[in-house]
């Protein structure tokens, strides 16, 4: 198997080097037959090629068995017209890497953080409020006047359905439970659509329990009782795409775990 390695900015090259050391040993022990090709992205690419992400790297990535992407300092990149392309966004949208799979498990022996947390947040990554990825043409925010800014949020049945399905599939391998995180009490149409699709998917998984939480309540539960956000045992959460967690962003989380 051949992996494309993109070390990126900041600590990216260091953490990627450590991960590659681990993979090389895993290869020796388990016979994975791994090969690695490296390309520059981020500031290294900006200096050499005038852009943080060349289109050719994105195209090349499609031909690999896997991609390993380090961190990016994209808040410090120049404007897109000056070559500062958001690498994560480009990978998510152009390669349709729509599922951000974010496990969170506490290690009691470290003696810090919430004990007993073991959940996976499945976050949709290709639509929602992100202005750089929710429009076919143009940009999903605008300023009618210097003191007024408007943001557009896109939720589709297609993207809601597929992130929900991934969450239920994962839940089935874990504890058989999904929690949809949303704000449908305020966002009747967008989060309503999201919930409608989640419930349709749930019908295909009678062995998985679905519940749902308002996004603001969900954050309180994470602090108060990380083991079980609403009922007895832990989970998988699934969320629609929201750049920030607090209200105004719908999300669903599915929490499965054995």
């Amino acid at each position: 198997m051949r992996f494309l390695v993109l070390p990126g900015d900041g600590i990216g090259p260091e953490i990627v080097a450590s991960a590659i050391d681990v993979l090389r040993q895993a290869d020796r022990t388990y016979g994975l037959d791994l090969a690695f090709d490296y390309e520059d992205v981020g500031f290294a690419s900006l200096e050499k090629h005038g852009t943080t992400l060349r289109e050719s790297v994105l195209e090349q990535a499609r031909g690999y068995d896997g991609i390993i992407l380090g961190t990016q300092s994209h808040a410090d990149y120049p404007a897109p017209e000056q070559g500062g392309r958001n690498i994560s966004a480009a990978f998510r949208c152009d390669l349709d890497l729509y599922a951000n799979v974010r496990p969170a498990r506490s290690r009691p022996f470290l003696g810090r953080g919430a004990h007993g947390m073991d959940l996976v947040i499945m976050r949709e990554a290709t639509e929602g409020f992100y202005p750089d990825r929710n429009m076919h043409q143009g940009w999903g925010e605008m300023m009618p006047s210097p003191d007024m800014a408007i943001s557009v949020r896109k939720i589709t049945a297609h993207c809601s359905e597929r992130i929900a399905r991934r969450a239920f599939e994962l839940a089935r391998k874990r504890r058989g439970r999904v929690t949809a995180i949303h704000k449908a009490n305020s966002f009747h149409m967008t989060d309503g659509l999201f919930l409608r699709e989640v419930r349709k998917v749930a019908a295909d998984f009678p062995d998985v329990v679905l519940d749902d939480l308002l996004v603001d309540a969900s954050t309180a539960y994470l602090v108060r009782d990380p083991r079980a956000s609403t009922s007895s045992s832990p989970p998988i959460s699934m969320a629609t795409s929201c750049p920030t967690w607090p209200a105004n962003c719908p999300a669903a989380w599915a929490w499965p775990d054995p």
Partner: protein
């Protein structure tokens, strides 16, 4: 981040430019992400050795974190980024 036909391992944190190049970063997230990539390959490409290696990496990282002597500075330990990776790799040896 994963799609239907491709998967990309990516640490879920930022680039921490304040400690860049100092061998201080904790690579746990990146290492566990490549383990997730192996698990994804096991599921989507039917490579049976991949999920075995993925599970072994998960266990190796937990074992390294469990020992106070092999933690990185953010967790009160003395290991650098490279040495932490090497300690996890060592646990994968047969």
């Amino acid at each position: 981040m994963a799609g239907d036909t491709l998967c990309c391992a990516q640490a879920q944190h930022g680039s921490a430019p304040d400690i860049q190049g100092q061998d201080k970063a904790n690579p746990t997230s990146m290492i566990l992400s490549v383990a997730m990539l192996l698990n994804w390959l096991g599921e989507h490409r039917g490579q049976p050795s991949c999920p075995r290696a993925g599970a072994a990496i998960d266990a190796a990282v937990d074992a390294v974190l469990a020992d106070p002597a092999t933690r990185t500075a953010d967790l009160g330990g003395a290991l650098g980024c490279r040495a932490f990776g090497a300690a996890a790799a060592k646990r994968l040896e047969r």
